[in-house]
Subunit: 256 residues, 2 copies
C-alpha cells in the first residue's frame, strides 16, 4: 500500500513526523510537503512561478509551493504518475472545523487528492495544549487500514479532528457535519519607520457555534470528529428555491 503524506505546517512540523511514523506501519509512506509553513493556503495553486522539489532523504521531499502544489508534484513527478492508494494530510497543528476548513491548506490537499481520484483524508489536532500527536497518529493509522479494506465514496474525503488529550479514547468518535467556527475579520494597523501604515490580518477566534452534530460540537464534547466533505459547494436547498422563482420572479432582466 502506497501512502502519500502532506500537510500545510511544513515538512519539518512535528505533526507530519508523527503521522508518517504511524502510517509506516500500514504501508510505504512518501512524504511531499511544503518547505515552510503554508497555513491558510486553502486550495491555492502556484501558477506564476515555477516550483522546486528537494529530496531530503529516502521518500521525503520538500516543495516550495502550496499543499495543493505538493499533491500535484508528488503524483506527477516524485511518483512518476503512479496513483497512491491513499493520501493523508496532517496532522495539522490546530483544529480544522467549521468555516476554518475553507481556509485550510491541510483539508484542501486532501480534497485535491480526491479530485485526482485518490482516497484521501485530513487529520488535525485541536488546540495544542499538550501538542501530543500520538492519539491522532494512531487514529490515522486505524482509519488508513479501514479505508484500505472498505474504500471511500468517489466524491468524499474524511476531515478528522482529534482533541489534544493524551488520554483521548480512540473509540469515542462521531460522524459530523461542518459547523460554525471562524476567525473574526479584525485587522491590526502598524506603522513602518517611514510613517506609512501596514496591516496584519487578525486572528481572533470567534466563539464556537454549532450543535453536537457538528465538528465543533463533537470536539467540544470530547469526541473525535469525522466529517465527510466534498468539493461541491452547491447549496442544493437554495437551488430548489431559486428554480421555483424562475422565470417569473427572478428577473434581473427586467432592468435595463
Amino acid at each position: 500500500m502506497l501512502i502519500l503524506v502532506t500537510n500545510d505546517d511544513g515538512v519539518y512540523a512535528p505533526g507530519i513526523l508523527a503521522l508518517s511514523g504511524a502510517l509506516g506501519e500500514v504501508g510505504r509512506v512518501v512524504v511531499a510537503a511544503p518547505d515552510r509553513e503554508r497555513s491558510a493556503a486553502s486550495h491555492s495553486l502556484t501558477l506564476n512561478q515555477p516550483l522546486r522539489i528537494e529530496k531530503l532523504d529516502h521518500d521525503r521531499y520538500a516543495i516550495d509551493g502550496t499543499p495543493t502544489d505538493c499533491v500535484h508534484l508528488a503524483v506527477n513527478v516524485i511518483l512518476e504518475g503512479a496513483k497512491p492508494d491513499l493520501l493523508v494530510s496532517g496532522i495539522n497543528r490546530g483544529g480544522n472545523m467549521g468555516q476554518d476548513v475553507t481556509y485550510s491548506g491541510t483539508v484542501w490537499a486532501a480534497l485535491e487528492g480526491n479530485l485526482m481520484g485518490i482516497p484521501s483524508f485530513a487529520i488535525s489536532l485541536v488546540d495544542d495544549r499538550y501538542a501530543d500527536y500520538r492519539p491522532a497518529a494512531i487514529f490515522a493509522a486505524r482509519t488508513a487500514r479501514w479505508i484500505a479494506e472498505n474504500g471511500l465514496p468517489e466524491d468524499t474525503i474524511l476531515n478528522i479532528n482529534v482533541p489534544d488529550d493524551p488520554e483521548q479514547d480512540l473509540d469515542k468518535y462521531l460522524f459530523t457535519s461542518q459547523g460554525y467556527n471562524r476567525f473574526s475579520e479584525s485587522v491590526i494597523r502598524k506603522e513602518d519607520p517611514r510613517g506609512k501604515s501596514y496591516y496584519w490580518i487578525g486572528g481572533e477566534r470567534l466563539p464556537f457555534r454549532g450543535s453536537p452534530e457538528t465538528d465543533v460540537g463533537a470536539v467540544a464534547g470530547g469526541y473525535i470528529s469525522v466529517t465527510p466533505l466534498h468539493a461541491d459547494m452547491t447549496n442544493y436547498g437554495e437551488l430548489e428555491s431559486l428554480k421555483k422563482l424562475h422565470p417569473d420572479n427572478f428577473k434581473p432582466g427586467e432592468y435595463s
Copy 2:
C-alpha cells in the same frame, strides 16, 4: 447603496473596470482589489506578512494580498467597519465552473463576503474570444438591483458565468448546480542554466462534463449560469450513510 467590488485578476483588469462602471449606475462603488493577478488564490489568507493599501484614486484601492485579504481590508480599514450592502467579485477573465470554482480567488472573495454577512455574488466571462465584458457587466448591474430588492439567503452567494458573446441574450439564464470542469494534473519539467530541474503546474483543461442542469452544461448551451454556492462542504448524503455504519461497521478502533 454601498457596493464593494473586488476580483482576482487585479485592480487594472478590464473585467473589474467594466463591472465597476456598470455598478456605478446602481450605487456608490468602492473598488479594493489585488495589485496584480492573483488567479488560483482560492480562499487563501496572507498571515505571514503584512499588507499595504494603495489609494489609486477616489474609491479605488490596490492591495498587495489575495482577494480574501482585500475583502478583509476593505471592510475593516477602507470602509472603517461599515458593512457594504453588496459585494461583487469579477468580472473574471475566464469561467469559474465545476471544480474550478474551488481554486478561484474571485468566487472565494464572494464567499468571504458572505461569511462576513454581506450579500455577495461572483461573475465571470467564459472564455475570452471576444473579451466583451459588456453583457456580463449589464447582467451584474441587473442582479445587483434584484438583490437590493429581494436580498439573498444568509448562507448563499450566486456564482454567475456569462458566455463571451457580444449578442448574449440576458434573459437566457438558468439556475444550475456546480458541474464538472477542471484542469488536468499535468506538470511541465524544465531545466535551469545549472542543470537543475524546476516544474510548472500545467494548465491543460479537461473536457467539460455535466448535464444541462450544471453550470458547465448551461453555458455550453448558450445560457448564463447562476449557481447558488455556500461555504459548507459537508457531503450530507454521505454523512447519512456513515451514520448508519456507526458504530458497528466503521471501526478504525478495531485495529491497534
